[in-house]
Symmetry: C2
Subunit: 480 residues, 2 copies
């Protein structure tokens, strides 16, 4: 049980990742049946490399050390190393140990909002898209798990209603009416796996009805384009003005559907004012069209009363979608889509052929969570935590980037900062940040911008106040 | 707390459904927040009627009785009745009470394998497609729930890998290799919500590659046609011979993809012999095509060693799919798809745009369930129960339908019975069975049959031995 290895003998795992120094978590093989352990270890190693969690160049521990850490025989580790060297995942040299080679990552590249695990290794990471996963309410969730399995009738474990569990749709209707001002009859709610599935459902239905193009915001989330493209729809990028989507270019584009983020535009942070809201709905009525409202972070608003959802103004012209990805965890894959009556049947049939409906136990669990007030409690808790982080970020920016203009701060989980001219052009700035180990995105990466000034999109929800302060300080240092 | 109502005052709920006499289960409103209870009750009533769970003509209890049963105020029930009468869901007459009117069911009609809740009211129900949901291992599942939430790292609650959790893919590879003889590298497994999603993924990818038609078995599951049609693919019905799919018509059809059920053909119960297996793979190699293997009930085989999956013979020509719908519960919505290397990337990208990947906690939970041997235990338990039921069914058929030929009994959850000529033509037989309150399907409902003789598809997994005996006796009585 004694270990002769010094730290440097034990391989280097990037220090900032949550699993740092925990090979057992990265390569969970001890629980596998004895006869499957070798294969399990090899698969887990391949996986860690292909996903980028073990980055190129990472040195692996000596085989006896890893064997001790994982609680398996040394021979099994040696065999795994040899196998992966043979396959090209690993490299080794006489006396030089074993390290990760150059592997093409087969996992899809992280899109702009980072709907993928964060790559390890950055010294600071302001890329938006993930909430603080440590705020996930494990105790309350575990209680709901216990309760729900005890109360489900046998027959409820059968094939689900593709629209979703009636109990959950009733709970969601109450919740969304109260919190987001939507018109939410349970009959027009479809339980989905998230905004991505909602987009794919809507895209497929619009395509089947003859649409070939949808409008998207510019700048906007590239994920919208990816999702609608997969259903056969091209996208046309439509400019914003200071208050929201500019309706003139929308009218000229000739589309009959447009995807929007009115509560907190991504990435600019604009909350659509009454004027573009009204113009958008007028347009939809005129062209017999559809506005898709992606309320991806509408749960979070810090200084004023929440802006009600656009859908509430005209539920027959707006399809509204949201999820628990920012309020609980993206890994739950649970969301909702409110559709106009004229689209409901086609959307439900698409949902049915896509997966026959959402897992029942998950739905019943979340219904219970909402009904008992646990979800409201969670939203309040996140709201408090994220407001504090936003305040810390704004203060740190004022300290380290004097003259910076911060906007989009009233809501959501990211802000926009426009820097004074002395920071030079945005390309050079982003290059220096990257070289200095700071992950940060420019608005320019999401579409059109008014000029070459540095405008950054800073996601803060996943960072502790301390890491926010340190990250801003570091950014200022490396770009200075 | 005293109730003056006789049984007939309390409304009639069909007696055979699992929720019989349990209005609380059908209309779960007591848990809803006080202010939402009225709306909850109305929505639940609408839902029960639209789904057919409350059938046309069902009498509802007097308002004071239902109020007592549900633990709500009488005024709230009266209001709900009035509202639903106004909406046309309910009818009422002076002194005659309240009953369910004629409502067009908006839930999709149950397809052949009944991927929908069973309608109540039948005296016996042999329609195949659902396992015995009371065999769901609640205690072991609850234990896995607890364990998994405790062991998940925070970062694992982020956006999932669209292919599925590595840990689950490793566990599935071991399981499927061992039990089904597939070639199951974790790298070519995609975790899906079930066979329906697997079909939609494959259909979408084949369509994007230029396919416009796929072959399906005739007779076969109508659901295959529905699912592939939703992806833009027409189907061509291909005849079987005594040993499996007939390869001659397949060659002539000009398709390059065909959907099959080789382990236990649905509905005929044929296990493909070596000849059609070999011919099918030869065909696929010749046309550079794909065989889809829907292993919907391949876990259950009673008298001989299991027939290994077709996929094991040529993993580059077969896409293999299965799920826990028959072994655990359809409501879990969890399954797997093994794809040839040349399709893997496209299938994963489709899965990503369809839902960004399967819910993480569900995946980790099932991985744990498999790793600890709980899934093998469950399969053994179901195998024992279903073998007994099959034996009971075969014996009851011998007793009540002398001269009947029973086939397809070696595997799966349904058998085929061909009756002697004295039972007349199949249409009249099915008509008499229906009129007598017995839900049963003829092979003719699934496609071509050799002659007009009565051939029935009898699903038995969801019925206790006593109900099987009683159901066969009843069927004999009503068609006699």
């Amino acid at each position: 049980m004694t270990s002769s290895g010094s730290n440097s003998d034990r391989g280097t795992l990037p220090g900032s990742a949550p699993w740092a120094a925990a090979w057992e978590l990265l390569l969970p093989v001890a629980d596998a049946p004895a006869r499957a352990r070798g294969r399990t270890l090899q698969a887990a190693l391949r996986e860690a490399i292909r996903s980028g969690r073990l980055a190129r160049g990472t040195r692996l521990p000596a085989s006896r050390e890893l064997a001790a850490d994982l609680g398996v025989s040394r021979g099994l580790v040696t065999e795994a190393y040899e196998q992966l060297v043979a396959e090209g995942y690993l490299l080794s040299g006489r006396g030089a140990g074993t390290w990760v080679g150059a592997v093409v990552h087969t996992t899809a590249p992280p899109p702009a909002q980072d709907l993928a695990p964060r790559p390890p290794g950055a010294r600071a990471d302001f890329v938006p898209g993930t909430p603080d996963l440590s705020l996930f309410p494990r105790a309350a969730w575990a209680a709901a798990q216990r309760g729900v399995l005890a109360e489900l009738a046998h027959h409820e474990l059968g094939y689900p209603d593709p629209r979703g569990l009636p109990r959950l749709r009733v709970a969601l209707a109450e919740l969304l009416t109260r919190r987001r001002g939507v018109v939410a009859d349970p009959e027009r709610i479809v339980v989905v796996s998230g905004v991505a599935q909602a987009s794919t459902l809507l895209g497929a239905v619009l395509h089947a009805r003859g649409a070939r193009v949808v409008g998207v915001e510019d700048p906007g989330s590239p994920e919208h384009g990816t999702l609608y493209a997969a259903t056969g729809l091209a996208t046309v990028a439509l400019p914003l003005d200071d208050e929201g989507l500019a309706v003139g270019p929308l009218r000229e584009a000739g589309v009959r559907a447009v995807v929007t983020t009115p509560a907190h535009q991504f990435p600019t942070g604009i909350a659509y004012s009454a004027r573009p809201r009204g113009e958008l709905l007028d347009w939809a009525r005129t062209v017999d069209g559809l506005v898709v409202e992606d309320d991806y972070d509408g749960d979070f608003r810090y200084d004023r009363a929440p802006v009600g959802a656009l859908q509430g103004l005209d539920p027959e012209r707006v399809a509204y979608t949201g999820s628990v990805s920012k309020s609980l965890a993206p890994g739950l894959r649970l969301g909702w889509l409110l559709v106009p009556a004229w689209l409901a049947e086609e959307v439900v049939e698409r949902k049915r052929t896509m997966d026959l409906g959402h897992p029942t136990i998950d739905q019943a669990l979340f219904a219970r969570f909402v009904e008992r007030g646990d979800y409201d409690r969670q939203l309040r808790r996140c709201q408090r935590a994220y407001r504090e982080r936003r305040d810390v970020l704004v203060a740190a920016l004022a300290e380290h980037f004097p003259g910076a203009e911060v906007s989009g701060i009233a809501a959501g989980l990211h802000v926009i900062v426009a820097l004074p001219d002395r920071y030079g052009a945005v390309e050079g700035f982003l290059e220096r940040a990257r070289a200095g180990g700071v992950r940060v995105r420019g608005v320019v990466e999401y579409g059109r911008v008014p000029d070459g000034r540095v405008r950054l999109v800073l996601g803060y929800a996943h960072l502790s106040p301390g890491r926010i302060r340190e990250g801003v300080r570091l950014l200022a240092a490396v770009v200075g």
